[in-house]
């Protein structure tokens, strides 16, 4: 990677990220598969950094997955989004932070379409009143949750108990950053660092001591593809795209993948399991996979959270080699315990993937 060139690109794509006071909206996929990541986001921002991040139980899905699976009309998803924005204003906020990348891209697209076609905005305003009796309003600042952790990356580094460094060699960990497609591919100016070389995760890796892996398929989609995953007969699409990425990154021997999208850490984790179990191929060292973590999970490790509190036991790729490299202390016996030490058994072992 030619670093100077990237710095020029990054300087062209900066965005305003207010320091505090946000209305927080969750992600359907992250709530389902990474609930601890959202809990960690709120704990870091509220309790470690003292920020005001408000959540109401009344917010819902933005409808993004249904929309990108072509099951609901554009007007429907826009009215659901208008309802979310109205809840923000009703609770006294003007800064909106969302956990989901699909949502973030859709909010950007919606706001841009409203700007370009005022008659459509007027229609949505009317729909919102008819359906929910809520006043139409738009956020002053629209931010993805990874933007906020990027903003706080140095404050997090200041509270860090360890770095993204191999404690046995002293070398920085090699980190692949994978950005969700809808973060900035549609609207490069809305993402920190643009679309070709987004800086949002790179900034975190740099601040926390890791080394970025630049590999040919860095910007390739993880392969979610909405309908291409939900329908069983289509899943080869999803698997093939993940496979392409792993074949491309393999020669660089990454220690870790960090992601900012709900689906990507799931697919980059689970398709490694499928590839290993069906072909015997693994991409980590000695039969292990490469852990694919959320940015909150990585921030949590750096800040000294217990890996099982972060939910790392819910990844199919074992995280222990990474924990050992980072010098994280953990109790293997507690990995699959429930709250209060409740015995929940453990997953059936994989036949190939360690």
């Amino acid at each position: 990677m030619i670093y100077e060139g990237k710095q020029k690109i990054w300087s062209d794509y900066q965005k305003d990220i207010p320091d505090d006071h946000y209305f927080y909206v969750r992600s359907c996929i992250r709530q389902s598969f990474f609930p601890a990541s959202e809990a960690t986001f709120l704990d870091i921002t509220r309790n470690r950094l003292g920020k005001d991040i408000f959540e109401t139980e009344h917010h819902t899905t933005c409808g993004g997955i249904a929309y990108h699976s072509d099951t609901i009309p554009q007007e429907t998803v826009m009215t659901i989004i208008a309802r979310q924005f109205a809840l923000m204003a009703k609770n006294g906020y003007e800064n909106y932070v969302c956990s989901c990348i699909t949502s973030f891209g859709l909010y950007c697209e919606t706001m841009e379409t409203w700007r370009e076609f005022p008659e459509l905005e007027a229609k949505i305003r009317e729909n919102l009143w008819k359906s929910c009796k809520l006043e139409f309003v738009k956020p002053k600042f629209l931010i993805h949750a990874s933007d906020l952790i990027y903003k706080y990356r140095n404050q997090i580094a200041a509270q860090a108990v360890r770095k993204l460094v191999n404690v046995h060699t002293g070398e920085p960990l090699k980190v692949v950053e994978h950005i969700g497609c809808h973060y900035s591919k549609m609207f490069p100016s809305k993402g920190v660092g643009g679309a070709e070389y987004p800086y949002v995760l790179v900034g975190m890796i740099e601040a926390w001591g890791g080394e970025i892996v630049d590999y040919p398929e860095r910007r390739h989609c993880c392969g979610f593809g909405f309908r291409q995953y939900f329908i069983k007969g289509n899943r080869g699409y999803s698997l093939s795209n993940t496979h392409k990425k792993f074949e491309s990154m393999e020669p660089f021997k990454p220690d870790l993948i960090i992601t900012n999208c709900p689906g990507c850490p799931y697919f980059l984790d689970r398709w490694q399991y499928v590839i290993a179990e069906s072909t015997g191929k693994t991409y980590g060292q000695d039969g292990h996979g490469i852990p694919a973590l959320t940015y909150e999970e990585v921030a949590g490790l750096v800040m000294g959270y217990d890996p099982w509190d972060l939910g790392l036991q819910t990844h199919q790729v074992g995280v222990e080699p990474l924990l050992d490299k980072m010098g994280v202390e953990y109790d293997p016996a507690k990995k699959y315990l429930g709250k209060g030490g409740k015995d929940l058994g453990m997953p059936f072992p994989c036949s190939c993937l360690k």
């Binding site: 709530q31 139980e57 099951t71 359906s131 549609m186 070709e196 593809g225 069983k232 036991q313 819910t314």
Partner: protein, 231 residues
């Protein structure tokens, strides 16, 4: 200007997505779907731009428009600021509106997608709901999900979630008043009518094929003809 093209042009996504395509093929070169399927977004944009009614109708009834994963990688790279992904979305929308989607294997999948995703939104307020994401239907979710599925309430409690609980938190029970508002939005904006249309088209197709609805759903969920693939 033909009728189908006129209908397409009513879609804001087409207005936004189609400027002046120069047929360079950059969208196809960058497209994840074009690697996997016999798919060429350049050709689709060209057909729409040509306003050829016959060719547009063929597209609307074809498998081709259902190959895209809507990742929008094409948008970043197009030198003329077209958005092939948005054009695809408007074609899919029209294909559903006209009932053409049911003619192709890939289009027919809308029956199941609409049924499942819209039910999740209306019943729970989420597009994805973990109690409806079963290991049996998703074996690639791994042995760890098989374990989670067996202990879902305990795993959510351990990880700071609020599965089906009151108040805020991950996977909370969204209050009925909010679900009622979602239903009202669906009714007013055409989503309910679309669900009914897609449901009726699926039932009619199942009857034509001499299948029960269970057999039809199973076929739609699992079938993929190798003719779609690049290799």
């Amino acid at each position: 200007m033909g009728k189908l093209y006129d209908l397409l042009m009513k879609d804001y996504r087409l207005k936004e997505g189609l400027n002046a395509c120069i047929n360079c093929g950059t969208c196809t070169a960058i497209c994840p779907a074009a690697e996997f399927y016999r798919y060429d977004p350049r050709r689709i944009v060209d057909i729409v731009q040509s306003q050829d009614e016959e060719e547009i109708e063929k597209l609307l009834k074809s498998d081709t428009i259902w190959y895209c994963g809507e990742c929008m990688s094409c948008v970043t790279r197009c030198p003329r600021k077209n958005a092939a992904g948005l054009i695809i979305m408007s074609l899919r929308n029209l294909s559903i509106e006209l009932g053409y989607f049911i003619e192709s294997e890939k289009g027919r999948q809308q029956f199941l997608l609409t049924k499942d995703l819209c039910s999740n939104v209306l019943d729970y307020g989420y597009c994805v709901y973990p109690r409806r994401f079963d290991y049996e239907g998703h074996p690639e979710a791994g042995r760890v999900w098989e374990w989670e599925e067996k202990h879902l309430d305990d795993v959510f409690e351990r990880l700071g979630g609020n599965l089906d609980g009151k108040g805020p938190g991950a996977m909370r029970r969204i209050p009925q008043e909010d679900l009622d508002q979602l239903k009202s939005i669906f009714d007013i904006t055409g989503a309910t009518a679309r669900m009914e249309k897609v449901q009726a088209a699926g039932e009619k197709k199942a009857a034509e094929l001499g299948m029960t609805m269970e057999e039809f759903i199973q076929m739609v969920y699992t079938t993929s003809d190798p003719k779609h693939l690049n290799h």
